[in-house]
Amino acid sequence: MLDHTPKEIKERKAVVINPAKTCQPLGATYAALGIHRCLPHSHGSQGCQMYFRGHLNRHFREPAEASTSSFTEGASVFGGMANLKTAINNVFHIYDPDMIAIHTTCLSETIGDDLPTIIRSSEKPEGKYIIHANTPSYVGSHILGFANMTAAAIRYLSAKTGAPNGKILLVPGFVNPGDMREIKRIMKAMGVDYTMLPDTTGVMDAPLTGNYHIFPDGGTRIEDIIDAGNCLATVALGQFASGAAARELENRCGVAPHIMDTPMSIDVMDDFLMLLSRLTGREIPAELEEERGQIIDIMADLHQHYFGKRVALFGDPDIMIGLTGFLLELGMIPAFVLTGSPSNDFEKRVNALLAKAGVAGRAKAAGDLFALHQWIKNEPVDLLIGNTYGKYIARAEDIPFVRVGFPIMDRGVHSYQPVVGYRGLMRLLELMGNALLERQERDAKDEDIELIM
């Protein structure tokens, strides 16, 4: 497995080998799927939407419908206006969504199609919406695309009417519906009224009833996005995926932005609950404090399973920062923390967490899995955490492997389960503990097999 990966590390400036990111439009598609009765539209070649849909299908095991401008060579030369106008007409006539969320691609950005002008001059049925986000595939990653489309929804729709709605706009980040459900449960337990944007629950985890509809019941309601301008604050979980939306709502409607990390550690969960409490005046309920106590109980009882273990983790920047915090709380060593997404801030943020804990580790933005594999070859780790692609490294180096992040295409159920909130932390503890202990047992002699561990 991965037999051509040498231990010796040579500097690379150009070639990316085994990426740990993908392009903006995928994130824009996922964000748009989280708006009720919204059809994502890819303004580019047909292959783009085929690739995004296929990838989303495989991770969630759910439909992910999206349309495309189907660029041909002619459209690439003369511009994509005619294709987009035709597409808009067809989408509204055939599929009748309430909104089309258009994202651009490397193709349409390179030829410089002017989306606002095309949209303004397009026919659109009464009461329907068209929004767009510029998502050139040669800038940033799928996380930036998610951030851009979420912000675009606010830019196009949100308005301040002067009638405060007392709600929090909650931007959950590029996470699973399982995570979003957990965040909603926490909001409910706090007694806080909120709008979640985007919200892929009920869309990317829709039930099988035998009655299919292209637009499932879930997703943020358009009227709630409009009303977001009247929210009392925005809470954005994850600066990379959610920060842009919070800043956009501040700029447009003066709603105060509170941008924090994805709540994947005790520290950040405490901050999250305290922030909600401060913003709304609600007290943190006993129910959540009890859950917190349970996690602390588990961490104390089982600390020996985790302490001092060296971990390599890769994935999206917000998830990596969140997870690094939790690993440090367990006394684990985040030896390598890598994201494929380019960022000036990522390495600083992770390094600050490591420094605060007094742990030596290496953070890398705009990295790839080839580099991560080489680091592991040189300085072995006890555990690897990442998306499905990690299994090749895990197999090559015989390392226990825990799947967290996007995409996970070789296991099921994960998208229904959280990695955020106290319940998410409990799940992470179980996943990591099981992986480590199963490895210990696999390698143990008969006489060293313990009944109780």
């Binding site: 150009a14 070639v15 783009c48 085929m50 296929g54 495989r58 041909t72 055939i94 009833t209």
Partner: protein, 539 residues
Amino acid sequence: MLDIAVMKEEVTKILDHYKGKTYKSRKDHVLVVDSSEAPQEIVADCRTVPGIITERGCCYAGCKGVVVGPLKDTVALTHGPIGCGYYSWLTRRNKARMNEGDKHNYLPYCFSTDMQETDVVFGGEKKLRQAITEIVDIFNPPSIMICSTCPVGLIGDDIQAVARWSQEQFGIQTIAYGCEGYKGVSQSAGHHIANNGLYKNVIGTGTDPSVKKKYSVNILGEYNIGGDGWEIERMLHSLGYTILSIMSGDGSVARLRNAHFADLNLVQCHRSTNYNAELLRETYGTDWIKVNFLGVRATIKALRDMALYFGDPELITRTEEFIYGELEAIEPEIEKYKAVCQGKTVALFVGGSRANHFQGLFEEIGMETVLAGFEFAHRDDYEGREVIPFIKENADNKNIENITGQPDEKMYRLLLSKEKFEELNKEMEINYFKGMIKIMTDGSVVVDDINHYEMESFMKVLKPDLFGSGIKEKYVIHKMGTLSKQIHSYDYSGPFAGFKGAVVFAHDVAMGLTTPVWKLIKPKWRRDAAPERTLAEVL
């Protein structure tokens, strides 16, 4: 069983929902099979209507993803932003392994120039050169294939010049494919571009004729999905054939170089490799036959045709004995699964060959195909190769280079005399493919480039028990409470090819139809209450 008139009416109703140009564009892509109207014409390989929610992909996907990608001993370097390389990384199930003597397998790797904004503004050639330099430094691969994505063509990077530079600089064969996503109308243009590149640069470059043994063949258009190619290899090897190369599942550039030494070419996927089948015939005189190793009867026909072509009585006898032995082993198994599947119906929407290839497999377990369609096929895949002279060039396909082969002075040879060829051509089809429509029953529906709306509509009208397609359609079908099988990836099962594969296939279909979940969809409290019967009513 299917009523032609009723179906035609249903098709009209479905198409009537479209307006103006969209109606005009779609109406000739759908037909109801009616043998009284044969030969029936269909429109295919045309632009997709924007916004219609197509299931199609792009030129890059056809070139890098389908044909070039599976070659294991070459570095396929995607020149473009990260997405294209990333999405085509290990997502197609073209299995490969290191066989004896193999030193290279780059399939678990994704190589990309990860173009950034500055590359798009100032040109990406510099980064491409640097990427190749680094690849050579780290891997020293035997060859490199540059596959370009949309922006590359738009900004005018000269990838051919970079390929020449790389070849001179490092002495490593470097082939550039201008397979930008916007070219053509689907994956199909990419297949053609990949065929051209391999024909011009790889096929025929092998210089050691000793690789050629008795009954040497190439298998074109076999991608080793789920190990199909390995099962075909097992059968052919045990019959005494030599497989010189496979294009391209578990294939290698090294073996493909020797393709011109073959006596006969076997074409499994006609759509993606008919170009090279024809070029090999024109250049080296090698005949090709359309084979289909999916389905028991189709496999038997392929094996018999091959033996008949070589005309060796011993080979013919050996083939019959082999078929007998294989059949004996599988028949009871197939019968067991057939009992479950008998009488059910299936709709198929796949690629450019599989909607055709799989019909026999389903028929053998008692399932009727009520709808079949292709994502990126051409008219010849539907109507047969006789239609090729009548296919009109259009603005989208005319820019894809169409090569014609010239007989190679040294290597051109005909295995069969003219008389022998004529005689055989009566018994089997040589250098010919009859297409899909002819195998379909009256009243069944053929849809080219189906879209989401049509798929949903036909599901309601035809109510098939199974829909065979790809990942984008799969979960839509499941949400309807109907079984869907992925005919591209086999849902990570397989092999489905050959005799043994037919058993795996029959098992999988029977399993899908039998799994208790379908009966659990309605909660008990929503089911029609079955009348409770008590003993007292009878006693």
